[in-house]
Assembly symmetry: C2
Homo-oligomer: 263 residues x 2
């Protein structure tokens, strides 16, 4: 068997603390290619760059990266990074695609807005076991001040080794969210919580008098009493793993829909 | 009951032929607010604008819009449009959120990249019945030369009336794709086809010598013999309706994962 090849991207940019921690953590498992945006792409979801060309360049690696970590910066979105790496950068088919560690959680419906998870969907579409890692920071907390602890990094390493060896079910990828903690309490396999963002805009006026709006908002967990969701796991100090399917079909509702839609 | 309120957005921009056709088609069902991007946002997925403020303005309506169609252009993504309309523009809670008609299909895995469908997910997250409409153009075909035919527009009108009256199941929205045709053969309720994009980059050098890449690609239907997918419906000349769930949990694979992941 070839040395495993691991592709890593994120939506905070190649220089973010989280992706550097992730690259260092899994470097002992194989050859690592970090192909990440050249700056922040938070909220990029699974967006792709259709209306402009995209470019990339190889960078001198970070000082604390080992020799088997190759570093590239890309002008596009996280999904563009995976697509560019796939067609133009990687020397062979990757064995694992990772994204993160995101500075902020991607639990519940935030999975839809997440550039971190957009890249993971893309890896899954290409048939590669793919995992997104995110850290649930409270508002005002910075990753640099509350990094994922060493025990949790060791759990990432072990999980990645298991997935390289065992794979994942077809069309399924993983959304992993860590709580801020000094120790690692364990993983919980769980489902995506039902939730909703409210009061999403802060009004602002720029120096030229243009009225505009900054996206903000309050997250509302619609299942605060549940014990099997990603948010319930995080509340209890556990690390959530939600298996995510890229088949978005609502398979269970065909009969209901036939009553609603007169075909 | 109040007059139904219908919010419409898209990812081709407010001036696109598809959204104008959609607004005119449903204007007889209620009050229509078109809140759409000020230019193309193809491939925007469910992305949100986090790193810059967003603005919008009310426009003089299109010449062939009726008095109950209110028109706004927004500097953000399709999801931003829905969020801005919700908090800042609409006079009351909408009864229906529509997106499209997209110039190009959003069948199979393209649902993940689609700005059209990103806006539909957002409507669904807000608890409003939401539908995305797209037209399956072949490469090189333009919407203006192959518009959705009058019979298909009448089917949109009828479907929207049914959904306003009956609603949709919780956390479920609809992804509707039309074939190019001079007549309307009917809807088929179907599932998302398994598919894959390959050969996705066209190499280019700009006038300043910078090497870059344009996103392109070939779509590969991984289930060419299926008879129950969106692509099989389109191939047969039918209009596909895929019920889409915003719960991306792979509910069926927890037991398999417990064998793969040693918790």
């Amino acid at each position: 068997m070839n040395t495993p090849l691991i592709l890593i991207t994120n939506d905070d940019g190649y220089a973010a603390a989280g992706i550097q921690a992730l690259a260092r953590t899994v470097a002992h498992l194989g050859d690592v290619y970090v192909v990440a945006p050249d700056g922040p792409r938070s909220g990029a979801a699974a967006s792709i760059t259709c209306t402009a060309p995209v470019s990339y360049k190889q960078l001198t690696s970070q000082p604390d990266y080992s020799a088997n970590i190759h570093l590239y910066a890309c002008s596009g979105t996280p999904v563009d990074c995976v697509k560019l790496a796939w067609d133009n950068i990687l020397p062979r088919r990757p064995d694992l695609i990772l994204s993160g560690i995101n500075h902020g959680d991607n639990a519940s419906i935030s999975v839809h807005y997440s550039g971190t998870m957009g890249a993971v969907f893309e890896g899954c579409m290409k048939g590669i076991p793919s995992i997104g890692f995110s850290l649930y920071l409270q508002r005002g907390q910075r990753y640099e001040d509350h990094p994922v602890c060493d025990a949790a990094l060791a759990a990432i390493s072990k999980l990645c080794k298991q997935i390289i060896e065992n794979g994942l079910p077809q069309d399924v990828c993983l959304n992993v969210n860590f709580p801020v903690a000094n120790s690692f309490r364990g993983f919980q396999l769980c489902r995506q919580a039902r939730g909703r963002w409210t009061a999403e805009w802060a009004s602002a006026t720029n120096p030229h008098g243009l009225h505009s709006y900054w996206l903000t908002g309050q997250f509302q967990d619609l299942e605060p009493d549940a014990t099997d969701t990603d948010f319930s796991a995080l509340r209890a100090g556990y690390t959530s793993i939600v298996p995510i399917t890229i088949d978005m079909t609502a398979h269970g509702c065909f009969d209901d829909l036939r009553l609603i839609i007169d075909q």
